[in-house]
Amino acid sequence: MTKRYCIFITALFCAFIGVFLAANAVSPDRTFSEMENRNLEQLPEVDFGTPEKLFRDGNFFNGEFMRDFETYTTDQFVGRDFWVGLKSSTERALGKKENNNVYFADQDTLITRFDQPDAGDVTDNLNYVNNFVKNVDIPVVFSLIPTQACIWADRLPEGAPNASQTDLLSQAQGAVSGATWADVYTPLMEHKDEDIFYRTDHHWTSLGAYYGYTGLAQALGYTPVPLSDYDATVRSTEFYGTVFSSSGVRWVRPDTITTYVPEDGITVVSHTYDNAGNPVEEPRELYVESFLSVKDKYSMFLGGNQSLGVVKNANNPDGPKLLILRDSYADSLVPFLTAHYSEIHLIDPRYYHLSVKDYVEQNGIDQALVLYSVPNFVTDQNLFWITR
């Protein structure tokens, strides 16, 4: 190797690390990653603390500043989405059948891995539901929604580790004796060849939610509207969901979002608090179309996460009032339920930390439904709030 060639290699390496140093320094910091649907770490401020407290009140001498700074450099690295995509493509080229806990499944489907949950968490959460049932004087229906890893297991790579969701369904059915169990597994399984889940998102589609709605009918005591009575409306054909983001996979087709139920006569109000602690009523809609122009398109249903939402149907003022303790799968189910109720109250225990028992009494609720997807239910750490 000549000296000139060695200078070239040296320069090449220095240029590579130098270019990214410069690019990271110049490129403006982002606050939010649409692709990852989360806030990105911002440049942390260093705080050396005070000598009186032996510097323990700062973030420097305990190493916290450095840890935040590391996250910051990774989060703000230039071309982050490109690198993540390059990694997943490389993994596929190397014969891997999963990336970042997402299986590359058949039929252009991305399925989040479902591993055996912590048995203690499962029994704890079932006990919370049990306590809730005992706490309130109204009939309670309990159901869990099996997800892609269960219903579409035949699309998974051969032999892929996959914990049994049906075992958890039977455990849940047996554990909460005071509530009426509703089986949504059977109708979903019967229609597994239809587009009942998104291929790139963890939620069920409106069609899947419809079959869920038929599975809940008997327990909730309504006669489901036949699917043929609705006109399907395609809302978006460009939906890339959460599993798409987390997988890093960039080679699958987008999903289509369809709705069935018309919005006429339906009002939605989200109840929150402002910074001063005063209650605020934020009007929403059954379908908030502005979300269709951003990445997080599933939030079109009821406008996304909310602590407490009330859906009223002016066309059915004498119907009963339903309370749903739920995760985001309920957002696309609610449109179907509106026909049978005058009011549907939605409580998300991740955000709603007041007494649910009081809420039931104060609002004249007639019926309650506890509805979660299996993966959310077995990992949820907020269900104890429903026992208050």
């Binding site: 190797m1 000296k3 060639y5 060695c6 200078i7 070239f8 290699i9 040296t10 090449l12 390496f13 220095c14 590579f16 690390i17 130098g18 990214f20 140093l21 990271n24 420097f60 001498f61 190493g63 450095m66 700074f69 590391e70 450099t73 990774t74 690295f77 982050r80 690198w83 993540v84 390059l86 990694k87 997943s88 490389t90 190397l94 014969g95 891997k96 059948k97 999963e98 970042n100 790579p157 051969e158 032999g159 892929a160 580790p161 890093g248």
Partner: protein
């Protein structure tokens, strides 16, 4: 701080190199000392004080040793060496092994506090490194350092601070005072560093996921095939993790004008356990030979004494690897094998076909990794029994097949990369082809490593425990 991170590669390293090369020669050691301390204190800034204490203590111990020697006071020199070694070992013992001692004693009902100490990173490496200094001065193998900065830079030198290679003072003493910098050396450093980075990020981390899958399995799901697949994955992960890190150290050293000895020499192609240890973590083996085995008498002692010495050296080697009893067992396992090979097995092996020698060695090394990797004794028992055919989950199952097929290309790449094959082929290429291919290979290594690092929250570093 670790090398295989974005802020090291794209922030720390360019700044260190830039300032280093625009600094006049005589100030370069001081700049290195400053950035070494930043590197070291990144995770636990408080331990910088411990580091400075060690540096000052050993620096003056060395001076005392030297002066006593110069005055012909051998007794005084020996005392100074002894006190310095004693204090270093005491610090190492306290920070690394106290928790293990305390919890073990608590198991016998003797209540002692554990103090909940976090392990200062690299303490096993830099303590061993500084301990060579008074000894080398005493033996007359090296001169005194020029000044405290020069010595401090030696102790904290960031390329090999936290994961070796363990460099003896006498190997580096001259380079601390005088070293050359050339594009040839820098370019060769770039190559070694990039290979090391790719080994760590693209091979070790990747195949480590396979091991994690089997380590996490509950005992009743372990199968014979799964146990073997898991331990093979671990053997690759550990080798590429550690040798990749050593390569990065050698490469970074060259970029700064230092030459370190290589730490690994394709250990998995060994034909005996004795040979394996001449090829695996060479700097550690050589440390124990020079500073423990030979002082204990080396080969020139009676047979029983020789075997006792070997047991002591291997017990120390084992427990050096981590504050957990399984590492002691692991070390003693090698003591037995090496004594057997010394006694008769080695001569017997040589008469057998090479394939048998390879299989013999790999089999014993894989078994050793199961002892090394599974700290919980109950689980280790289940795991070893599974490897020997008594698996609770039977011979194999669909999941093992899934993991095997998923990782097959990675396993083949790792197996090839464990042998000198690619290096040999590379050296056979005509110079023109090498010149054309080298920039492409380097850039590919850097680009793919960057992609994996950006993606990775998965970047555990195995040797932090050491």
């Amino acid at each position: 701080m670790v090398f295989s991170s974005l802020y090291f590669l794209f922030l720390y390293l360019p700044i260190v190199l830039l300032v280093y090369y625009i600094t006049p020669l005589k100030w370069r050691n001081l700049w290195l000392l400053v950035v070494n301390l930043v590197f070291y204190g990144w995770g636990e800034p408080v331990y910088i004080l411990l580091m400075i204490f060690t540096i000052v203590l050993d620096y003056f111990a060395g001076i005392i040793v030297y002066r006593c020697k110069a005055r012909g006071n051998d007794r005084g020199a020996r005392w100074a060496v002894g006190i310095s070694l004693g204090l270093n070992l005491a610090i190492l013992f306290f920070f690394k092994y106290w928790v293990l001692m305390a919890t073990t004693l608590q198991g016998f009902g003797i209540m002692v506090p554990t103090f909940n100490l976090t392990l200062p990173i690299g303490i096993s490496f830099y303590t061993f490194q500084t301990m060579t200094y008074p000894v080398d001065i005493y033996r007359g193998d090296a001169e005194l350092p020029k000044n405290l900065v020069s010595f401090g830079t030696f102790v904290t030198l960031f390329p090999q601070l936290i994961a070796g290679p363990i460099i003896k003072y006498k190997e580096l003493a001259d380079q601390m005072n005088y070293r050359t910098h050339s594009p040839e050396q820098f370019a060769s450093g770039v190559q070694v560093f990039t290979v090391g980075l790719a080994k760590k990020v693209l091979l070790a981390n990747n195949i480590g996921q396979l091991w994690d899958a089997f380590l996490a399995l509950p005992a009743e799901q372990l199968t014979v095939a799964g146990a073997w697949l898991g331990v093979v994955a671990f053997s690759f992960q550990l080798y590429f993790d550690f040798s990749g890190y050593s390569d990065m150290a050698v490469g970074l050293g060259r970029m700064l004008g230092f030459e370190f000895l290589r730490n690994f020499n394709y250990p998995y192609i060994s034909k005996s356990v004795t040979e394996f240890w001449r090829r695996w973590h060479i700097s550690l083996g050589s440390w124990f030979r020079e500073y423990m085995y030979i002082p204990l008498g080396g080969n020139r002692v009676s047979k029983p004494r020789l075997y006792l010495n070997l047991f002591l050296v291997w017990a120390a080697t084992g427990i050096w690897h981590g504050a957990s009893w399984n590492f002691l067992i692991w070390g003693l396992y090698f003591a037995v094998l090496i004594i057997l090979e010394k006694a008769f097995l080695g001569r017997l092996l040589e008469k057998l076909p090479a394939a048998v020698q390879h299989i013999y060695t790999l089999f014993l090394v894989l078994v050793s990794w199961a002892i090394f990797a599974v700290e919980d004794f109950t689980h280790m028992g289940v795991y070893l029994r599974s490897m020997f055919g008594m698996a609770p989950g039977g011979l194999t199952n669909d999941n093992v097949w899934y993991y095997f097929t998923s990782f097959l290309p990675m396993l083949i790449i790792a197996a090839v990369a464990s042998t000198p094959l690619m290096t040999k082929l590379w050296k056979r290429l005509p110079v023109k082809a090498v010149k054309a291919a080298l920039p492409v290979v380097l850039l590919a290594g850097l680009v793919f490593s960057t992609a994996y690092l950006v993606d990775a929250t998965y970047n555990p570093f195995l040797y932090f425990r050491f």
